[in-house]
């Protein structure tokens, strides 16, 4: 689809989904407010390029790039008005074309400018405080590359992940990698030998790579190959100058450095995706040895705070599809999975039932998927003919099918997501299964009820009416 961020921004502009903000503003609080405001426009909101930040004259900042379903559809190469369910099925289809092709290039744009002396991140990047009580200036949308130190030639184990990064000095940053993240596996292997772990922090990359970097893939699945597969074009990579790491050739900015082994430093709080601040913790420290960037680089960053924000869109369908695929492997009755809410803390599954009680088995299967173990704490089941992305339909199922005495199951003492404010102690949780499907035999059905059937051809006429409507606007 798009080779890099610039191509995507060009397409957004062509589609009327990009605006420029030229008035002079302060880094704080103005950038925060612009991000929040553009996000709050909703499902059709544009990306924003800000180019006149006081003290940072001449530097460009891109925000809200993934901030709406319209931009998300354009990233997928679809019409910007495509509904969520159609985007879900399109992504699910393309998922199966993994692995895509990788291509290594020389003289990569991301290395047009190289800074190795007197690195000062506060001056190179137009940094700003995302939420008022964050501990400092954060990189919230980086694609971070590390390799398995015991298997460095295995590109499938090379990880590209999005982890929050706090700038903690001119050439120093701290990063949150939680124990269940892939980067933690790489770090553990390096730290056991007291070795630094090379790391590349890539800013402003192809939007599909950003999307895949925040997708819960298996350890030996390549984010680069997935991005290539879904984009339908090869992923162009180049080697870092100082390390054997592969980075996107078209990245706007790359910070090359090393995680200092066996050291933890004070980091946080940071306004996180559940809409609450994380605590202050001790996290890894990274020394930046080199900054490479394109000429006239665009610094891309993301707002997250009280949902709905850009991170909810970014982490939306890429959380849904892997869960859908994993369920579908053994339970073909599953029709769709909506895990849009806080990276899948709440999941709505539409499923047919093979026999009585089957929906509850689907819920338990979800709770044992790699992502579901820690995240999926509220699991809602609806019938296969209910659109789980349409909350009106979900609430109808809630209202008419739940029998409180047997359809609500609570499983205490399960793993939890530490950033969820309801996880106490952090990392522990409670699973709640709510079965809003229609009971079937051999389950005893007390009353025979027939639901009103779906209306034939309604979707066909919906499109026609919508077109007629848009013509008179």
């Amino acid at each position: 689809m798009f080779r890099d961020l610039r191509e995507f921004l060009g397409k957004l502009e062509q589609e009327g989904q990009l605006v420029y903000f030229h008035d002079e503003i302060l880094p704080e609080p103005d950038i925060r407010a612009i991000q929040r405001g553009s996000q709050d426009i909703g499902s059709t909101g544009p990306a924003v390029i800000i180019d006149n930040v006081k003290g940072y004259k001449g530097k460009k900042l891109a925000v809200n790039v993934h901030g709406s379903w319209a931009n998300h559809a354009i990233m997928m190469g679809m019409d910007k008005n495509t509904n969520l369910k159609d985007q879900f099925y399109e992504l699910a289809d393309r998922w199966d074309s993994y692995p895509g092709e990788l291509k290594w290039v020389k003289d990569a744009p991301c290395q047009e400018v190289v800074i190795e002396k007197d690195i000062n991140l506060y001056e190179i990047l137009p940094l700003f405080r995302i939420n008022k009580n964050d501990a400092g200036f954060y990189l919230s949308k980086a694609s971070i590359v590390t390799k398995d130190p015991e298997d460095p030639d295995n590109v499938d184990k090379e990880n590209v992940g999005t982890y929050r990064v706090q700038v903690q000095g001119p050439d120093t940053v701290a990063m949150q990698g939680l124990a269940f993240h892939d980067v933690a596996i790489h770090l553990k292997k390096a730290e056991e030998k007291n070795q630094p772990l090379p790391i590349a922090i890539c800013l402003g990359v192809d939007p599909m790579l950003t999307f895949m970097a925040s997708t819960p893939l298996n350890y030996n699945q390549s984010e680069y190959k997935y991005a290539a597969a879904i984009n339908g074009i090869p992923m162009e990579l180049t080697k870092c100058i100082g390390y054997d790491l592969d980075v996107p050739a078209g990245a706007e900015i790359v910070l090359e450095g090393e995680i200092i082994p066996r050291k933890r430093v004070c980091e946080g709080p940071f306004g996180e995706f559940p809409g609450s601040y994380s605590g202050t913790r001790k996290q890894v420290e990274i020394k930046i040895k080199r900054v490479t960037h394109r000429k006239d680089p665009i610094f891309e960053n993301l707002y997250l705070g009280r949902p709905w924000t850009e991170i909810d869109t970014l982490l939306g369908l890429n959380t849904c599809v892997p869960l859908y695929k994993q369920l579908k492997e053994t339970m073909p009755e599953v029709k769709a999975v909506n895990a849009l809410y806080q990276h899948g803390l709440t999941v709505i599954i539409a499923t047919d039932q093979r026999f009585g009680g089957y929906a509850k088995s689907v819920a338990m299967r979800l709770a044992t998927t790699p992502h579901g173990i820690s995240y999926a704490k509220n699991i809602i089941l609806v019938d296969g003919d209910v659109d789980p992305f349409d909350l009106n339909q979900v609430m109808w199922a809630f209202s008419t099918r739940i029998r409180g005495s047997q359809d609500v199951i609570v499983v205490p003492g399960t793993p939890g997501m530490p950033l969820d404010p309801a996880s106490e102690p952090p990392g522990m949780g409670v699973k709640v299964i709510i079965d809003a499907t229609t009971p079937m035999a051999p389950e005893r059905v007390l009353r025979e009820v027939k639901m009103v059937e779906k209306v034939d051809k309604a979707e066909y006429y919906q499109k026609i009416i919508a077109d007629l409507h848009s013509q008179i606007k």
């Binding site: 880094p27 006081k54 506060y122 405080r129 009580n133 124990a179 430093v265 709080p269 913790r281």
Partner: protein, 75 residues
């Protein structure tokens, strides 16, 4: 210089506006790693006006949780 969050004297200037405008400076605390810009809101950079919930002056930083534990050395 006193850190606005942990109130220890480990803070110092780390940057000035790179366009030479003198629009602001950035300060960093080497103890708790808090950083701030001179032009930020009063309830961010003035310890008297900051939300006490976010202050670290009474917190022992050595006892903070380590989400990604350091593994034993393997020879």
């Amino acid at each position: 210089m006193k850190c606005v969050r942990c109130l220890h004297g480990d803070a110092h200037k780390v940057a000035e506006a790179p366009d030479g405008s003198g629009a602001w400076e950035v300060y960093l605390c080497d103890r708790c790693n808090y950083s701030w810009r001179s032009t930020e809101e009063e309830d961010v950079i003035n310890p008297e006006k900051r939300d006490p919930w976010f202050q670290l002056d009474k917190v022992d930083l050595d006892t903070l949780q380590i989400p990604c534990p350091i593994p034993p050395l393997v020879k």
